[in-house]
């Protein structure tokens, strides 16, 4: 049962990754190209002094084609699989929500916890933005923010379930949501801010890049949430022990 759900999630994730690739290709790549042109100009000026030029290990065409495709589809499959595991834990445990609604809810909460909240603190950066010297610290902070936000979201959902027994589902979810936001706000204040945007880098281009980056993730998560719901809604997801499947008592 769980293996089947996991497989469904990963297949849905691959489909979502394909859609995200199409979006990224059309709406994201122009800003990556701009940033790389900016970077090349800056490093060309530096090369005039040192006389050295870095060779490309992977061509730009491959990066923007097969590389982008592989990255997004593989990432989509992984997120789809993790999404399916979250669904296996959640389905049937959130009041009377149908599988399709549970799927949509996980997609929204996952998108907020894994994309929106970490990116509000540490937004996506195009090439040429961000110093190579700080990559270790930036990566650590970004993943810290992401893991913390996700763990906090899971705790908030469990908290909301408990509150629902006493003050109702709507009020419980509202209170738990406010607690989530409050703790996130403390986290935002506690973690260091990173400001490494080159002065000459176009603010409009940076904005375009960041919006398109959120867009890529939005397409991915929306597609996973809706497609997974669509392929799960009509299917009974009862846990049936393999050998007892035929006996009526297994269906309860």
């Amino acid at each position: 049962m769980v293996g089947n759900i996991l497989l469904r999630g990963m297949i849905v994730g691959v489909a979502a990754g394909l859609l995200a690739f199409c979006f990224a290709k059309v709406f994201g790549e122009p800003w990556v190209d701009y940033a790389i042109a900016f970077e090349a100009q800056a490093s060309h000026a530096a090369d005039m002094i040192t006389g050295a030029e870095e060779p490309d290990i992977v061509s730009r065409a491959t990066q923007a084609g097969a590389g982008l495709f592989t990255g997004l589809v593989v990432y989509g499959a992984a997120v789809g699989g993790l999404f399916a595991l979250a669904f296996a834990f959640t389905n049937g445990r959130l009041g009377r929500l149908s599988p399709r609604s549970v799927s949509a809810l996980i997609a929204i909460l996952g998108f907020v916890a894994i994309v929106i909240v970490p990116q509000l603190k540490y937004p996506a950066n195009p090439p040429a933005v961000g110093s190579a010297d700080t990559i270790v610290a930036r990566t650590e902070l970004f993943f810290t923010m992401m893991v913390f936000s996700l763990v906090l979201m899971i705790a908030s959902v469990m908290f909301a379930r408990r509150l629902a027994e006493r003050i109702g589902g709507w009020n419980g979810a509202t209170v738990a949501g406010l607690v989530y936001l409050a703790v996130v706000a403390v986290m935002f204040a506690a973690l260091p801010t990173i400001e490494e945007i080159p002065a000459a880098f176009s603010p409009a281009m940076l904005w375009n890049f960041r919006i398109s980056s959120i867009g890529v993730q939005a397409v991915l998560w929306a597609a996973i949430g809706l497609l997974f719901g669509a392929v799960t809604e009509g299917v009974s997801l009862k846990h049936v022990a393999p050998r007892r499947a035929a006996s009526a008592s297994a269906f309860r």
């Binding site: 996506a124 990566t139 980056s213 009974s236 499947a245 269906f251």
Partner: protein, 73 residues
């Protein structure tokens, strides 16, 4: 798979029965680990940390990493 049963009975449409945690856990531990490793390779390998060395993985998934919002370089 026999464990997927199409909803034909009346009671199955009422409310999905939760899958016992004990049935999910083995999948969650192994599958979760594999999937997180996959996220790591797309999102962070040969950036801040490197398991394989070199920079081919980094350069290959470069655009995807930037557009997914991971710190790249």
């Amino acid at each position: 798979m026999t464990s997927i049963v199409h909803a034909t009975t009346a009671q199955s449409s009422a409310r999905a029965e939760p899958i016992p945690v004990s049935a999910i856990l083995p999948w969650a531990v192994f599958g979760g680990l594999m999937l997180l490793l996959t996220v790591y390779f797309v999102g962070a390998e040969e950036g801040a940390t490197s398991l394989m060395g070199g920079s081919y993985v980094h350069e290959f998934v470069h655009d995807g990493r930037h557009l997914l919002g991971f710190p790249c370089h």
